[in-house]
């Protein structure tokens, strides 16, 4: 095994370790701190103590959803960055999450859906439609989209959807009270059944991504070279886009709009294991849940006894990241 490969394996092992620690933290930390041994006890042997109840009924679903959402957003971000060859592609910035919000608003205002399990489907459809629009815009024009163009298209998308949401909410005041709590991305208070509904989509999205993952490396060299290497560029893009949309839709449906996870994680993973997607994708899949769970845990403790939703934490953590990214010469000059 070469030095580079063993280093990558080392980072993977480290990522796995981080993930396990993050899961443990997420189960143990909160308004009621629970010792790791008690957590372990509750998971393995059950038990009816208060602590065991809290762990099983509140923290386990929350952690499971956190892992699923983090994984989905990170992989989606990696694929989006790969197929658009654009370092700032990310579901939140591109307005895909906002599409899901619109879906939820419509569910509340017009379809009379009032449960989280009911929202999911509408969020899913909204995210899908927004994604289709943004891809059409991003790939339009000669030479595809520059980072600035893509970011602006995303901003336009966000504003457009926000104004639709606002129009609905102004005419339907009761929907606002319900919607505003979903609108801040959070993984707390989500029912365990959400995880049950979301995982098939997650699996489908991951399979789609796996099907085209090998092509991402060729795509990184430019369309012409990818074609020269015998790849069907259009098919690759379509498959990747579909996979990323399914993943994003599922994640946003489960947790609400969460920005910047899909942006930051792929870049961190790339810094650790390099640009080859067979290493990059698994690494991102490990680090995504880590980032989300850590942000969530942090959100539980910073303003005790109340909580800061995870989306606010990831946004606050993600902005410095984006700024650092943009300040590097390559992105700004692109």
């Amino acid at each position: 095994m070469s030095g580079a490969a063993s280093r990558r394996v080392g980072w993977m092992a480290f990522g796995l370790l981080l993930l396990l620690s993050a899961v443990m933290l997420s189960l143990a930390v909160g308004s009621r701190a629970i010792a790791p041994s008690v957590v372990w006890e509750a998971l393995v042997h059950g038990g009816m103590s208060d602590d065991a109840q809290v762990v099983r009924s509140l923290r386990v679903p929350r952690t499971v959803i956190g892992v699923l959402v983090g994984l989905a957003l990170a992989v989606a971000g990696t694929v989006l960055q790969g197929i658009t060859r654009n370092p700032i592609a990310e579901p939140g910035i591109l307005g895909i999450s906002q599409g899901a919000s619109l879906g939820v608003v419509c569910a509340i205002a017009f379809a009379g859906v009032h449960s989280l399990t009911g929202y999911v489907w509408y969020a899913f459809v909204g995210a899908g439609l927004a994604a289709v629009c943004i891809y059409a815009v991003a790939s339009g024009g000669r030479g595809g989209a520059s980072p600035v163009k893509l970011a602006l298209a995303g901003a336009a998308m966000n504003a457009f959807l926000a104004s639709l949401i606002s129009a609905v909410l102004t005419t339907n005041a009761r929907a606002l009270d319900e919607f505003r709590f979903w609108d801040v991305g959070s993984i707390s208070g989500r029912d365990a059944s959400i995880a049950g509904q979301v995982w098939p989509f997650l699996l489908a999205g991951l399979l789609l991504v796996l099907a085209m993952a090998r092509g991402l490396d060729a795509l990184a060299l430019g369309d012409d070279i990818a074609r020269g290497l015998g790849r069907n560029v259009a098919l690759l893009r379509a498959t990747g886009a579909l996979g990323a949309t399914v993943l994003t839709g599922a994640a946003v449906a489960a947790a609400g709009p969460i920005a910047f996870t899909g942006l930051a994680v792929p870049h961190i993973a790339r810094a650790l294991v390099g640009p080859q997607h067979r290493w990059l994708l698994p690494m991102a899949a490990l680090l995504g849940p880590v980032m989300l769970l850590l942000a969530d845990v942090l959100g539980r403790v910073v303003v005790r006894p109340s909580e800061v939703p995870v989306a606010v934490m990831t946004a606050l953590a993600g902005v410095p990241f984006l700024v650092a990214l943009v300040r590097r010469k390559k992105v700004a000059a692109a």
Partner: protein, 363 residues
């Protein structure tokens, strides 16, 4: 400098900047007037006047245009209460807000050298939004104080973007990307504050975040008008300086333009205008994007015409507000809904249709 006669005999007529008329004053003074820009400004002013009168006519009760004009001219009229007291203050605010957004957008687009940039995407409006919603949740709901809060928020956010994007110079693309990132983060903060307040505050905050002229009057218009008047000398400077800002750094330096200073000046002006306008009416999305672009397409000048942008912005806001008031009457939509519904697709169309070598890539 010495001037030698032209190298060879030639029968050519002298070259002038296209479409301009030279006005000579005295033996040294000379001014360039863009004929088409002048004509467009006149037409826009007439349209704006018509829209203003129409907007004053329409409402819960209809007032004949003749009476509206009488009220505007200060003549006694039975409709003075409805037109002069109820409708006019809101309309004046709308005109001023539109003009301020129009000029602000023109300046920001010039600085970013990108037709797709606007105060909406560089953090100004989101900063103002987050600050205002925060103030609302902490119990500050008076429309007399909120404008100042949002001005401060907008300026701070813009300053933050500016500082973060600065790296031995201000590259336009970095500016836009950092601005969008900050905007997303501020948007999520604003949403957080919306959940913290009670239901009524949430409703008010949501409406404000969309941009609305409902309940706005001279209280909001007065600070805005003051700022606009105070800025006139600076705007005259900007109108000339912005021509140089369209060049790349090297060419501008070659022409003796201190591009850094010009950009700083123009962007500060743009940010101040956008913050003040946001303070008065909330972030009325996309006016700052649309007005300059439409104005420029009409005048066909290589730079963005400030005067026409201001008139165009005012026209857009007045018309959008008229629609927002009457389309679902008696229910009233925030004016920002209309401007965004029209503006966002237009922006996307700009992105799709732009020649890629020109848009974004050159920044």
């Amino acid at each position: 400098m010495t001037y030698l006669p032209p190298a060879g005999p030639s029968g050519r007529s002298p070259v002038r900047p296209a479409g301009h008329t030279v006005v000579r004053a005295g033996h040294r003074g000379s001014f360039l007037l863009h004929r088409r820009a002048l004509a467009v400004a006149v037409v826009l002013a007439v349209l704006l006047a018509a829209a203003v009168v129409a907007s004053l006519c329409v409402g819960e009760s209809y007032v004949a245009p003749g009476e509206v004009v009488r009220v505007l001219l200060g003549l006694p009229s039975p409709d003075e209460l409805v037109v002069g007291t109820l409708r006019l203050p809101r309309l004046v605010t709308g005109v001023l807000v539109g003009a301020a957004f129009g000029v602000s957008g023109a300046l920001i687009q010039t600085v970013a050298r990108n037709p797709l940039a606007s105060p909406d995407v560089i953090g100004v409006t989101h900063g103002a939004g987050a600050a205002t919603v925060a103030a609302m949740t902490f119990g500050l709901t008076s429309y007399a104080v909120l404008p100042y809060v949002s001005v401060v928020g907008g300026l701070l956010a813009a300053l933050l973007v500016y500082v973060l994007a600065w790296r031995g110079g201000l590259a336009a693309s970095r500016f836009v990307l950092v601005g969008i990132g900050i905007s997303v983060a501020l948007g999520s903060l604003a949403r957080l504050f919306v959940t913290k307040g009670d239901y009524l505050v949430a409703q008010q905050a949501k409406t404000w975040l969309t941009g609305s002229l409902n309940g706005r009057g001279y209280d909001q218009a007065a600070p805005l008008a003051t700022v606009l008047v105070l800025l006139v000398p600076f705007l005259l400077w900007a109108a000339r300086a912005q021509r140089g800002a369209a060049f790349d750094e090297d060419t501008a330096t070659a022409l003796g333009i201190g591009l850094g200073r010009v950009r700083l000046g123009l962007s500060v002006l743009g940010v101040v205008l956008a913050s003040v306008a946001t303070g008065a009416a909330g972030p009325v999305d996309f006016v700052a994007l649309l007005a300059p672009q439409i104005a420029r397409r009409l005048t066909r000048t290589p730079h963005i015409p400030l005067m026409c942008s201001a008139l165009m912005g005012a026209l857009i806001v007045v018309v959008a507000d008229l629609l927002a008031r009457r389309l679902l009457a008696p229910l009233e939509l925030p004016v920002g809904v209309f401007t965004a519904l029209v503006g966002a697709p237009y922006l996307m169309w700009l992105i799709v249709s732009a020649r890629s070598s020109r848009t974004g890539g050159t920044a």
